[in-house]
Chain length 270, copies 2
């Protein structure tokens, strides 16, 4: 494995940029190739066979670009595809659900874990399995929050509409003894201020909001360090963006989200 | 052309069911094959080249099933693809924008025409062109209303959230002398009661709401009658559903929307 090769990161759209931002903070010298499958976004409303097919396409495209490892920056894909991607491609595959679940267990104290995710992620039961695998104690309550992806993709991140949508989804957790709420979709951290405010007001001031993107970046760093797979370069890592549609609107959001670091996006066909 | 062959109707998802309902009322003896590309919904946030590619896939699948004509039950596809579909396939191709524009001209009186549509439909300028082609008088104001498609696909059709979203979109028309508002996306008639209420309260009691699905069904009937392409059968027409993902959730919405007429959906790969 060439430790100077880039990391390959993918998502259905722009949600995975929250993982890219966290990876760049945790691993500032790594080159990253990011693929957003904007021609087929969203994934979270699709069935598992379709999501798996799309995930195989994305991984193939990144592997063909010589990446040293794959980071699935999408909870929906992480819920259905990691085992198959590991079997089909000879690369390390990291996903967001295990790190998110472990961070949630640490944050929830004696409370239950509430998971907001896409319809596909919640239906998969992946967070329940990941929490059970890492704790004998924590209980998981899932709530599908599908409208947050289109709101994020439209850049409708604040104001009355997203606020009302978030409040509606959080109702599922009221009075349920929740200790931590997991942002179980990489789009959701875009609403973090709004979600934190509503979590505090509806569920209580000591309920933590867990961002699986941050937990994933930390675990990716530990994984690369343990295997001596980190780049030895000292220059800042470079970013490359690949999308399957609408590069200009992707760039606009990426710019707002990553600042000057955001490069132009290249359109590829999967 | 075999006049007993079915009509082929397609959309990105379930929005086109509003056209199917109208077609069944206008042409009760016609068989209909409906294709919802639920694996790639929504189309309205995608770029024109991607939408065209998906439209070619859908039309190919319907033509291969021997349909006598294609009804594009999607404004986004109607905005970018009809000429190309007519060039590539030896079938009549009917679309929703021309009929919607003509109905709007009749409804708007001396007022302007407000069009709610997807980002792609509004960006295409297709309604402006269709209105100009049919009237020297009417002026068109477009407003992209992209959140209504995911709300419809999720079945979130009433209550505070869609109400607030609709109100937000209609703000673009307040004080602009609007005579008619076109539901320029086949998903939007699912919100018709809510949109009509808000149009009346925000824009005035005499502003009409124009459903391009109804206008399309009427023009399709006239087209088939003029060319002697209507079925000669007297039994009720049969419906067949094809989808590219999540057949059960499609069936649930179709059932609610069409009642007993809704058959099971078959999954196909495009």
């Amino acid at each position: 494995m060439n430790r100077e090769a880039p990391l390959g990161v993918f998502d259905s759209g722009l949600g995975g940029l929250t993982v890219v931002r966290a990876l760049r903070a945790a691993l500032p010298h790594e080159d990253i190739v990011y693929l957003g499958d904007t021609a087929r976004v969203p994934y979270g409303t699709k069935g598992p066979a379709t999501v798996l097919r799309y995930a195989l396409n994305c991984t193939r495209a990144l592997v063909d670009r010589g990446v040293k490892a794959i980071v699935i920056a999408c909870n929906t894909v992480s819920a259905v595809a990691p085992d198959r991607l590991r079997a089909d491609f000879d690369k390390p595959v990291l996903s967001v659900i295990e790190p998110g679940a472990r961070a949630a267990i640490r944050s929830a104290g004696d409370g239950r874990i509430g998971v907001l995710g896409t319809t596909a992620t919640i239906a998969s039961g992946a967070y329940v399995r990941a929490v059970s695998a890492n704790s004998t104690r924590c209980e998981v309550l899932g709530r599908a929050a599908p409208l947050l992806v289109p709101l994020a993709e439209e850049g409708w991140l604040e104001g009355e509409v997203p606020s009302l949508v978030v409040r509606e989804y959080l109702q599922a957790f009221v009075g349920k003894g929740i200790g931590a709420v997991v942002l179980g979709c990489t789009h959701y951290p875009l609403f973090r201020p709004l979600i934190e405010e509503q979590v505090r007001s509806l569920l209580g001031p000591h309920v933590n909001v867990v961002d699986s993107a941050l937990a994933t970046a930390d675990e990716t760093r530990d994984f690369l360090v343990d295997r001596e797979l980190t780049s030895t370069r000292t220059r800042p890592g470079e970013l490359e963006f690949l999308v399957t549609d609408r590069p200009r609107s992707f760039e606009a959001v990426a710019q707002r989200f990553l600042g000057d670091a955001a490069p132009a996006a290249t359109v590829i066909d999967l």
